[in-house]
Every structure is written in structure tokens, then in C-alpha cells.
């Protein structure tokens, strides 16, 4: 992945998570992955198009998702209902939106697709021909993995 794209995503994820969740957010070691990988339970996907093609996936466990929703809505949420799903979708939108804004300032033009949310157990993501950058984020409410796979159009 192009070096210039990495930081905006890392920063955006860090900023937004700190802003909406509060508390200390720790960024794990970044790494590349191209094998199929398990999805923890809830995955929000935002597609990117424009000068580049690709997608960003926000992956977390159902418990983490519920914790985040409870915090963001300021009320205890026990099931992943419409409201909770909309909350996670919104979080994905906020992070990707900020990253794309940063990239726009650097002169790269991206468009976003509306986010899609996948929930379920024992899911696996297998676009293993694509090399993805994994940004692990350790929040006080659980782990969120930002999985970015974008490449320049040739």
C-alpha cells in the first residue's frame, strides 16, 4: 500500500476512537496480511473508489461492539439491534470520512461507498489475494482492528 495512505488511516482511527469513546486508546503494531482471516463478529465495510480502489473494514467482537454502542449512545445496550448496528456503521463512516478528508488535503481523490455491516459468528474474510494493512486499536472497551486494502488504479 502506498506509504502516504497509511498515516491518515491510523490517525483518523486514533482520533475518532479517542473522541467518541474517551479513555486511553493504544495503537498496536501495524502489519501486512494477505491470507484469509477470521472476522471477530461484527465487521463494518466501507468501499473506496476514485484514484484508488479498495476497502476499509472495521472488525470487532460483538461484546466490543455492544460496549462501544452503549458508550456512544449513553445507554446500556444488550443486543445488537437496529440502533446498535447504525451506531457501528456511523463509527466506520466517521473514521473513513476523516481519513479520506486528510488524504484529500494531500491531493488524493477518494470517494466512499455507504458502509455495509456484517454480523455473525465464525465468519471468515477471504479476499486473500489482496494485501491488507492491519491497524490494531486497543480501546478500553475491547479491540478494534482496522483493515485497509487499497491500491492505485493502474
Amino acid at each position: 500500500m502506498r506509504v502516504e495512505y497509511i498515516n491518515p488511516f491510523v490517525e483518523a482511527a486514533y482520533n475518532i476512537l479517542t473522541e467518541v469513546l474517551g479513555g486511553e486508546i493504544k495503537r498496536g503494531e501495524l502489519y501486512l496480511k494477505s491470507t484469509s482471516m477470521p472476522v471477530m463478529g461484527v465487521a463494518a465495510l466501507v468501499g473506496l473508489a476514485g484514484d484508488v480502489e479498495g476497502r476499509v473494514i472495521f472488525d470487532m467482537s460483538i461484546d466490543t461492539a455492544l460496549n462501544i454502542c452503549s458508550r456512544m449512545n449513553n445507554e446500556e445496550m444488550k443486543v445488537l439491534d437496529e440502533m446498535a448496528k447504525a451506531t457501528i456503521t456511523e463509527l466506520a463512516n466517521m473514521i473513513t470520512g476523516q481519513a479520506v478528508t486528510k488524504l484529500h488535503d494531500l491531493g488524493f481523490r477518494f470517494d466512499l461507498t455507504p458502509p455495509a455491516l456484517f454480523t455473525g459468528e465464525k465468519m471468515e474474510l477471504s479476499d486473500h489475494k489482496v494485501e491488507a494493512l492491519i491497524v490494531p486499536m486497543e480501546t478500553g472497551l475491547g479491540k478494534v482492528e482496522v483493515n485497509v486494502a487499497i491500491r492505485d488504479r493502474m
Partner: protein, 449 residues
């Protein structure tokens, strides 16, 4: 309508009569042959030599035999050799699947039994032996001395193989090979697993083999055909420099010292004028409008910038694109904004550098725009276009053998036919693998044969 029908019927009768006439001509069927196909062509063998046909696979491999001997097979208690006729005749074969069953014709020649593997077994065809015509060189792709004759039957032309000739020769060759193998017991052992090899190996070879393992474990440096030449050369130096001390590598520090002078010139800095000129001299003339270059393992980016400057000199009229990758995030993060230390600025680079407000030198946008830095691991899927030049210095040696092979295959696929690959100073493409080597000073380049 009725008229037409009548005509067709009479027509059919005519054809039937024709057939009868023809059959009368070949009247006596005194020769039967088993027909089969190899690469789409029809071949046949005298049925008297065929014992049976079978389907079998997973033959037991026998080392040190000719490539067309697939191995041996247990046919109801008899161990018979299996020969692939396609390989024997140099006919292209499909890649063999491990479990696939092969069509097998079991034949008897001079009281010996062989199994031969063919593409497809067809049927038994009866003919008159008088209709066998002598072979002509234009039939088939195989040596005329193995052809007994050519037969036409129902519009198909069969090439009748002279099995005796094929296999009496083969038997002799096989015997000779067996004898030779006995005589040359030591070289034969070389094909055996490592353990046996070590028995005959000298002390030095033993040491080298331990060093190979140690380098893999301590420095993630894998010794393969790419670099084994250098490792053995280096061993002599190393042994002498250690004096009485243990030659074995026992720590990461030892491994680092052993590999000290492995790296190519000017690793981690801008290339010197000398190295740059040598590399430039190796580059072929290329009038293409677009020139793509892949810099695998560009590290902090010095290599990519040096390359961009050289290419700009060499191909002033082309649009040059350097795809620079590294899997070390820390190293490559700063590459797009690389600061060049004052002392590294030579006249070659000066005109393409701009001085920032803080006094530090960075490359001008014309050079920066040529390079696309990517955080990418080339052992993953590579989505680069076809390349005119691939620079991969001292990268392959630090991949495990499987990754190395995959990377070389990928390079070969991505490299244009007139393209060039530059490896590290002490690295080389495996011999006899379709690469041509050319050397200019300390730069070693490979092109496709």
C-alpha cells in the same frame, strides 16, 4: 419428397457397396493392433506384444533413472518398470497430478514386462498386414527408427511403433545406467537425504552445512542456489579469520559478522558515481515511451532515488515509473520525504536536489514524482504492471526457499522479454534456469534467455 427419399436410399446403397468393395480389397485381417493417442496423434502397437491394459498411478519413484522412467509398479506381485512414452519422445506432457490414474499399456518384449504410459487408449483395430506402409519422416514427431510403419484405417492414420526396438535399446540403457550407478556410488548418494550426504562429506562441508542452518536460524538468511556460492567462499575467509576459535556461528552477532560483506555496495546510501555508472552501462537501449521499474526492498528509499536519477539520465525521453516496495514500515515511512545528508550529495545528484528552509536536501519533485513508495511485502500478491527493470538487491537471500522460488517465478512473469533483473552483488539466479548473466564491475544483471 418421395423422389428425394429414393435417391438417398440408392445413395446409401452405393456407399454400402463401396465399403464392401474396399473391404474386399483389404480382405484378410491378419494383424491386430492396440491403438492409443499421444498429444492428439494416433499410434498403435502390435497386439501380440501387449499383455494387457490398465489404469494405475502413484508409481514408486526410483532415483537416478532417465527422466522417462516414471518408476516401478507392482502388477499383481510382479515389479515392472513404468515408462512415459511422451517424455521418451519429447512430446509435451501435462503436469502430473499426484493421485491421477494413468492409462497404462503393459507390454512384453523379449520376456520382459514394461508398462508404458500414454494419453488415451483407444481400441483394438484389425488390419491386413499388407496394408502397413513403410514410415516416412513427416509422420509424427518421433524418431523414424522407432516406427515400424504407417497404417490407414477408416480415415485415421496410425503410426505403428516398433516396440522391440524401443525397449531393447531401453533395457540396455537401463542396464548400463544401473552399472554406472553402482560404480559411482558416491555421486548417487548425493541425491539421497542430507544424513547420508554428511557421511561422505569432508569436515569443511560439514561445517558449511551447520553454518547454513545457523544463518537461517540466527539471521533469517537462507542459503540456496541464489547465494550458496558466496557462502562457501566466505567460509574459507571466515575459517582463517577465526584462527583457533570455533568456526560455528553461536550467536546473532556471529551471524552478523559472517554476513558482514554480503551486502551490495552502497546499501542504505545514495549510490556512488562508480556503481551508478556500472549499472547504467548494463541497461539496454530502450525507446519505449513508458518504462516501468520495480525496486523490491528499497529500504529507506536511497536505492529508489539513485535508480530514478540514473534512469532519468539513461532514458531522457521516456516516462519512468519506479514502484518501490519495502515490508519494513519504519524504513519506508520516511522515504517519500527523504533527507539527503550533505556529504552524500555528489554532482550527479546535486542538480536534482532542492535545499529546504532548514538547510536539508531533498529530491526535487521531478524525481519524487517518478517513484511510488509502497508498504508492501513482495511475498504477498504483487499487483504491479509488466516491468522493464527489476532491482532486488539482497532481498531474496532473506526469504525462505519457498518464498524465493515464488518470488523468482513472479519476477519472471512480470519482467518483459527485453527486461533486466539486478540482484545483489553476491547473489545469482539458479544456473540453467533460463537466465543469462551479465556483469559490469560490481553489478550483476540477469535477462531472459
Amino acid at each position: 419428397m418421395a423422389e428425394i427419399d429414393a435417391k438417398t436410399i440408392s445413395g446409401q446403397q452405393n456407399t454400402a457397396q463401396d465399403y464392401e468393395n474396399r473391404n474386399e480389397r483389404v480382405a484378410i485381417i491378419d494383424y491386430k493392433m492396440v491403438t492409443f493417442s499421444l498429444a492428439g496423434k494416433d499410434y498403435a502397437i502390435d497386439i501380440m506384444q501387449v499383455k494387457e491394459i490398465a489404469k494405475a498411478g502413484r508409481f514408486t519413484y526410483v532415483p537416478n533413472t532417465s527422466p522417462f522412467v516414471l518408476g516401478v509398479y507392482n502388477l499383481r506381485g510382479d515389479i515392472i518398470p513404468i515408462i512415459d512414452l511422451r517424455i521418451f519422445f519429447n512430446i509435451p506432457t501435462k503436469a502430473r497430478e499426484y493421485d491421477a490414474l494413468e492409462s497404462l499399456i503393459i507390454i512384453n518384449v523379449n520376456e520382459q514386462t514394461f508398462g508404458i504410459v500414454v494419453d488415451e487408449i483407444d481400441k483394438v483395430v484389425g488390419i491386413s498386414s499388407s496394408s502397413i506402409q513403410p514410415p516416412h519422416p513427416i509422420f509424427g514427431d518421433i524418431n523414424i527408427k522407432y516406427i515400424h510403419g504407417v497404417v490407414e484405417n477408416q480415415g485415421r492414420l496410425y503410426i505403428l511403433l516398433d516396440v522391440e526396438r524401443i525397449f531393447t535399446n531401453k533395457a540396455k540403457v537401463a542396464e548400463a545406467e544401473a552399472e554406472e550407478a553402482d560404480k559411482a556410488a558416491a555421486p548417487a548418494l548425493a541425491a539421497e537425504p542430507e544424513v547420508k550426504k554428511l557421511v561422505n562429506a569432508t569436515r569443511d562441508e560439514l561445517d558449511i552445512s551447520f553454518i547454513r542452518d545457523a544463518l537461517g536460524a540466527l539471521a533469517k538468511f537462507y542459503v540456496t542456489q541464489i547465494n550458496e556460492h558466496w557462502v562457501s567462499e566466505r567460509y574459507r575467509e571466515w575459517r582463517d579469520s577465526r584462527g583457533n576459535a570455533d568456526v560455528q556461528l553461536t550467536s546473532e552477532e556471529d551471524a552478523r559478522q559472517y554476513l558482514e560483506n554480503f551486502l551490495s555496495p552502497d546499501t542504505g546510501t545514495l549510490w556512488s558515481d562508480e556503481y551508478a555508472s556500472q549499472l547504467s552501462a548494463l541497461l539496454p537501449q530502450n525507446s519505449a515511451k513508458q518504462i516501468n521499474v520495480w525496486d523490491v526492498g528499497c529500504g529507506k528509499g536511497y536505492e529508489a532515488y539513485s535508480l530514478a536519477v540514473i534512469l532519468r539520465e539513461k532514458y531522457p525521453n521516456a516516462r519512468i515509473r519506479v514502484y518501490a516496495n519495502d515490508s519494513d514500515l519504519l524504513a519506508i515511512s520516511n522515504a517519500p520525504m527523504l533527507n539527503v545528508p550533505e556529504n552524500a550529495v555528489t554532482s550527479r545528484y546535486r542538480q536534482l536536489l532542492v535545499q529546504g528552509v532548514g538547510g536539508s536536501w531533498t529530491f526535487a519533485p521531478v524525481v519524487k514524482d517518478m517513484i511510488l513508495f509502497e508498504y508492501h511485502d513482495c511475498t504477498n500478491q504483487n499487483s504491479v504492471p509488466n516491468m522493464d527493470l527489476i532491482v532486488c538487491r539482497d532481498v531474496l537471500s532473506f526469504m525462505n526457499p519457498k518464498q524465493q522460488a515464488a518470488a523468482i517465478a513472479d519476477f519472471s512473469e512480470k519482467l518483459k522479454d527485453n527486461g533486466l533483473i539486478i540482484l545483489g552483488k553476491n547473489e545469482a539466479m539458479p544456473q540453467h534456469s533460463g537466465w543469462l548473466r551479465s556483469v559490469q564491475g560490481e553489478v550483476v544483471a540477469f535477462s531472459k534467455e
